[in-house]
């Protein structure tokens, strides 16, 4: 139970992908103009992160390490992620055209999202600061991926709300666009710094 709470708190609050690790900033800045698109992107990223971890973790642990080819992990992982995204796109297109219309445009962008490759790399590395003494297995890996994705979505939704509000105000020409988004993100990060004091 303690491990689960530790993973959830670390993934969503204390070591959030955007505010603490700065992974996945491109979609965070690019697709956060409207709340609806932020939610769509967040859900798509979460699904791909969980599926990718469920495939890459066993492949690394039970195929690549025994065969001694773990140095090829980058090439294997990026291929697994790219083909998963392609497959997911085709499946959603067939099963639910409405969902495809809502989410389809975000899927191809996810292949080159650092959050997805980042989580698959993190779970095969040293996770002892998050899971404590428990031994790493595929369940913890998938849980960590799921809550990291949800934490990503959480920050994206906050950001999109702030940017929608920001549209009502006039900002100076020099800081309009990217600079004002970055300054908004700076305040979100500062708010999240409070959570680093949480001790589990």
């Amino acid at each position: 139970m303690g491990t689960i709470i530790g993973i959830v708190l670390a993934a969503v609050l204390t070591q959030n992908f955007i505010t603490a690790k700065t992974y996945g900033i491109c979609p965070f800045l690019g697709v956060s103009k409207k709340t609806s698109s932020a939610v769509g992107m967040g859900i798509a990223v979460t699904i791909v992160m969980v599926l990718a971890t469920l495939v890459t973790y066993p492949v690394y642990e039970y195929v690549m390490v025994p065969l001694g080819i773990d140095f090829l992990e980058i090439i294997f992982f990026i291929f697994i992620i790219a083909s998963l995204v392609q497959m997911l796109e085709k499946i959603i297109q067939k099963l639910s055209p409405t969902l495809y219309n809502a989410m389809g445009i975000y899927l191809p962008l996810i292949t080159t999202n650092c959050a997805v490759l980042g989580v698959t790399e993190l779970v095969i590395g040293d996770m002892s600061s998050i899971i404590g003494t428990a031994s790493m297995n595929i369940g913890w890996a998938a849980l960590y991926a799921l809550f990291s994705g949800l934490g990503f979505m959480f920050v994206m939704v906050i950001m999109s709300g702030m940017r929608e509000k920001l549209n009502c105000y006039k900002v100076g020409k020099a800081i309009a666009g990217f600079p004002i988004s970055m300054i908004t993100a700076c305040f979100i990060c500062m708010a999240f710094m409070v959570f680093t004091y949480i001790q589990v």
Binding site: T19, T22, I25, M182, C186
Partner: protein, 216 residues
Amino acid sequence: MNKYKKITLDGLIFQNPTFMLVLGTCPTLGLISSAFSAMGMGLTVVVILTLSNILISALRKVIPNEVRIPCYIVIIATLVTFVRMFLEKLVPNLYDALGGFLVLIVVNCIILGRAEAFANKHTVLESALDGVSTGLGFTAALTFMGVICEVLGSGSLFGFKLWDGFTIGMLATPAGAFLVYGLCIAGFTSVIDAFMRAKKVKANKLARENLLREAA
């Protein structure tokens, strides 16, 4: 010769990947809290970007158009694997400083972006020059912000202690990185805008003078 000058200036200033195109933001924000890791990241990207641009440009007539993106990704992932092994063995302190961002160079938008926008349409020499100048533009931008963040955030520069007592702790965290990056983009684009406007005014004035002279 003019063509090569244009490629160099575009990569370094007018299409600077960090300030003008805002690409490769994840490593930028994650590593500018220390000038050493920021510069190390920049130089690693110079190497990988130049090699990937050369390879992709050399293979541009061989790679079929429909499957070009997977081919580029394989080339880039292989290069990153090589560079990672190289750094782990020879420069272990840089390897530790870069952490997870070393692997994430595979999905760095600058490298895939230059492959897609430049290397698959230009000759090997031009692509190599573009890789070096874009990479150096990235390095310069990262080092500049890294120096600001490290001096003000931790009171040191490239690991050497400058003073004690006065530090703005926020600038050593991702929050400070966002702030410095945002303000640097604003400053850089303002300067470039002012420069372009001055150039345009000068050109207009010259044209008017020429016209007047012809009329006279």
